[in-house]
């Protein structure tokens, strides 16, 4: 698969490394080229420095032929805008955005962007640990689904 990842922070760089190791073609974009230091020297993917909501940068990253687009920018709105550009303008089949704000994550899920909210997820994991419940990722997924439905 051809995967474009936006944001080379902890999540972005880790994801990029994982996908590249599995043999996928990975391009990672960050506006600060310094961020690429998080990647290992033997990283097989491509790096591009530039602002992720600039169509020209996205095209340079090959968004037009991408199978997957993931935005993990620090700013929620940058992630939201980039994800929408990937989905609605460049027609990437699978688009995912990491969004910290649970309300925005839910709102854009309704607008058709697949969102992942580490805030809710993290809080659930911690809560379950405190309550000494079985920390089971699938279970948390179910709880979250139920939570967003109520």
């Amino acid at each position: 698969m051809y995967i474009v990842i936006l944001g080379c922070g902890r999540v972005g760089s880790t994801l990029a490394a994982l996908m590249a190791e599995e043999g996928h073609e990975v391009v990672i974009v960050d506006r600060n080229s310094d961020s690429f230091r998080r990647l290992k020297k033997d990283f097989k993917g491509r790096t591009i420095s530039g602002f992720g909501i600039d169509s020209e940068i996205l095209k340079k990253a090959g968004v037009e032929k991408a199978d997957v687009f993931v935005s993990t920018c620090t700013g929620d709105n940058t992630s939201i805008m980039a994800a929408q550009m990937a989905k609605k303008i460049f027609k990437v089949p699978k688009v995912m955005a990491r969004i910290y704000d649970p309300i925005r994550a839910e709102a854009y899920k309704k607008l058709g962007i697949e969102t992942y909210c580490p805030t809710t997820f993290g809080a659930m994991v911690i809560k379950n640990t405190i309550e000494e419940k079985d920390v089971n990722v699938e279970k948390i997924g179910e709880l979250l689904e139920r939570g967003s439905r109520t």
């Binding site: 700013g75 805008m81 704000d101 309300i103 709102a107």
Partner: protein, 220 residues
């Protein structure tokens, strides 16, 4: 009208001030405490401290009854989200976004926010016009600067003097809306003849302005 202005920079500040003067109900949302306090000091109870991108803030300020949402922060992505939230979640009938990167005009339109203002584009267009033409005076920009109303004073030596409108060959590039001749206003027809000192008011698309100028003023 109830207008919500998101972003308390200079654009937001002066816009709010103007709207108050015009007796509109207006609320300015700004997340920075210092900026917010200063605006409140100068303009009164119209500043609300909060993040315009957050649904909670938008709920608190009664966005659902707003007639217009104006997002004028310095970041395009924030302005997009503010306008989308206002339109899609709170059903605000009009949302206007300021954009910095002129390329985003297209992006915003495709993502559901069709009304955008780009100062970069406006200033560029002005420079372009100033440099290119003294004879063609822009009167108004429509459709965010894509369509223009211009005024041309026909001088001695203009290639169109004594010519009829139908012989101008501007169809597809521009429309002559009105001719001002001394105290007379003429709505031209194909057989109207142009005279020296006529002021021609024409409607054209920005990229065809040059064609229009060449026809009416002559090539330089």
């Amino acid at each position: 009208m109830y207008v919500v202005v998101a972003g308390g920079g200079k654009v937001g500040y002066y816009l709010t001030k103007r709207l108050i003067e015009e007796n509109h109900e207006v609320l300015l949302v700004e997340k920075d405490k210092k900026k917010c306090d200063r605006i409140a000091e100068e303009l009164g109870e119209v500043a609300f401290r909060g993040d315009g991108c957050e649904v909670r803030t938008l709920e608190e300020i009664g966005t659902e009854r707003a007639d217009v949402m104006v997002a004028v922060t310095g970041d395009d992505e924030d302005n997009l989200v503010i306008c989308q939230m206002a339109k899609f979640r709170f059903n605000v009938p009009r949302a206007i976004a300021r954009i910095n990167n002129p390329q985003n005009e297209d992006v915003f339109e495709k993502l559901g926010v069709a009304t955008t203002v780009s100062s970069t584009k406006i200033i560029y267009n002005l420079i372009d016009q100033e440099v290119d033409s003294e004879e063609v005076i822009p009167l108004a920009s429509l459709k965010r600067g894509d369509v223009e109303v211009v005024e041309v004073k026909l001088k001695e030596g203009s290639p169109v003097v004594k010519k009829q409108i139908k012989d101008l060959h501007i169809a597809g590039d521009a429309v002559i809306a009105t001719i001002l001749r001394e105290n007379e206003i003429i709505f031209p027809r194909g057989d109207t003849t142009l005279e020296v000192n006529d002021t021609v008011i024409a409607l054209t698309v920005t990229e065809k302005e040059k064609v229009l100028r060449e026809r009416l003023v002559g090539k330089r």
